[in-house]
Structure formats: structure tokens, C-alpha cells
């Protein structure tokens, strides 16, 4: 392999933030590098585990909308 892929580049690859050339290189070499696959699987595990979609309660959202409407009246 000519170019050494770092974990930071794998990190950017996982989050779709690497350059197209690095992306292409990683995808070409992925099968030959099980440690890359392990790292990407780990990133996926962490991401899935942190995907807890907490929601603000509806009353709070209504209060913010009321505040927004009130400031509109003030600015008229």
C-alpha cells in the first residue's frame, strides 16, 4: 500500500467527511485491512448507542412559539 490510512482518516470516512480520493482508497483496501473494518464497526456501535432522540416536551415548544408570536407583536 502506497498511502498509510490513519484512524483520523477512517473517522472522517465514517462520517462522510474525507476526500473522494481517500474514500476510494479506503474502499479498495478495506477487505485487506480487517483492523479498519473493526474500527469502523466500533464507530457504528458507538454511534448507534448514542442515537437517543430525546424530545423537548410539547408545552415547552408551545411556550417558545408563543414567545415568538409575542415578539412579533412587540416589533409591530
Amino acid at each position: 500500500m502506497i498511502y498509510n490510512i490513519t484512524k483520523n482518516e477512517l473517522l472522517k470516512y465514517f462520517y462522510n467527511e474525507c476526500s473522494p480520493s481517500v474514500r476510494q482508497l479506503i474502499e479498495m483496501e478495506l477487505d485487506a485491512n480487517p483492523e479498519w473494518r473493526n474500527y469502523l464497526n466500533y464507530l457504528e456501535t458507538v454511534q448507534n448507542s448514542t442515537k437517543i432522540d430525546f424530545k423537548p416536551n410539547d408545552t415547552l415548544v408551545s411556550m417558545i412559539l408563543e414567545e415568538s408570536a409575542a415578539t412579533e407583536h412587540q416589533s409591530l
Binding site: K12, V46, T50, I52
Partner: protein, 193 residues
């Protein structure tokens, strides 16, 4: 038929022109990501709700007074506001004395002030909750990058702007956050699905 999502910048423009519905769309589009990020940073639903409300009040006033000039970078801008409030809140709480009862438990935890919601109770014993607790154990700077990347879905470039650092620092912090989480996982011998 495919529908096109109206860009945040366009919604804000409509809002400044008096279209209240545009603000409602903006709020509903981003509320869960912003709230989840705040919650993950401060670790307390009630404090998170206060910060969430204060964040949006500040957003409303900034837009109304013509101070918004970030075009379609609404989310990073909103996250920067809420992140600064989270930091202030965490620092304030660190300065508060901890009052304990006769058994040494933090008295605030026994007053029912921090009662858990149904959704929190539902996941209380879940492995996901364990991981979230470990995220809270991470150094503040590492936790911040992980939360902004995974909860708020900001790019590393956007996180660098929000946190006043550079992209390599952000990626480095994320990398160390992952290393530390793995160590905690191994130490606690819990397999995270």
C-alpha cells in the same frame, strides 16, 4: 412527487418578514437534535429544558433584531448558543455545594426535583444508558465533540467553529473520546450492542 425542503436561511428570511409559520417549521426541524445535544451535555432533563428554552428565546431575539447573518448555517449557530449556555450551567453546578443526607446521598436527588420521565425510565437499565453514562464520564472537551458529532450531527468543520478550535483538534478529541469509551466498556465488561 418529490418535495423540496426549504433551506433554513429562507425560513429565517420569511420569519423576519412576519411569517410565524416559518419559525415553527425551523423549530420543529431542529428541536430534537438541539434538545438531545443539550441533554447529553448537561445530563439533566430539567436543566436541559431551561437551556433549550433560553436558547430559542435568544434565537428569536437575535433574528428579530437583525443580528442573524449566518445564512444556512442555522444549526451550528444555534448549537453554539446552547453549547455556551451548557458550559455556563456545568460550571455553575460545579460551584454549588453538595448537601448530603445522613446516609451520604445527594439530597437534591431525593427531593423528586430530578424525577425521571417515562422515556428515561424505559431505558434506565438499557446498555445504551450505560454508554450514555460513560459519555458523561469523558473529559468535557471530548464529550462535547462526541455529542456535537453524534447527537447534533454537525460536521467536524462545524464543530471546530462552534468550539473555537480547528478541525484536527476536534478529530483528535473525538478519537480520544472513542479510545476512552472503549476502555470504559472493557473495564465494565459490558458488551455494547
Amino acid at each position: 412527487m418529490a418535495t423540496t425542503m426549504i433551506a433554513d436561511g429562507v425560513l429565517i428570511k420569511h420569519y423576519t418578514e412576519g411569517n410565524q409559520g416559518a419559525f415553527e417549521t425551523l423549530l420543529k426541524r431542529h428541536k430534537n437534535r438541539i434538545f438531545s445535544s443539550i441533554y447529553a451535555l448537561v445530563g439533566d432533563r430539567y436543566i436541559a429544558e431551561d437551556i433549550f428554552q433560553e436558547t430559542f428565546i435568544k434565537i428569536i431575539h437575535s433574528i428579530r433584531t437583525g443580528k442573524y447573518n449566518h445564512e444556512d448555517k442555522f444549526l451550528p449557530w444555534a448549537m453554539r448558543i446552547s453549547r455556551n449556555m451548557c458550559i455556563d450551567s456545568i460550571r455553575q453546578r460545579k460551584r454549588l455545594p453538595i448537601v448530603v443526607d445522613s446516609e451520604g446521598n445527594d439530597i437534591l436527588n431525593n427531593l423528586g426535583i430530578f424525577e425521571k420521565s417515562q422515556e428515561e425510565l424505559h431505558i434506565e437499565n438499557d446498555e445504551i444508558t450505560m454508554l450514555r453514562k460513560w459519555i458523561w464520564e469523558l473529559p468535557e472537551e471530548q464529550r462535547e465533540v462526541l455529542v456535537l458529532r453524534n447527537y447534533a450531527d454537525l460536521s467536524f468543520k462545524e464543530i471546530a467553529v462552534v468550539t473555537n478550535t480547528n478541525i484536527n483538534t476536534c478529530i483528535g478529541r473525538m478519537h480520544y473520546a472513542l479510545i476512552n469509551l472503549r476502555k470504559m466498556t472493557q473495564k465494565n465488561s459490558v458488551r455494547v450492542k
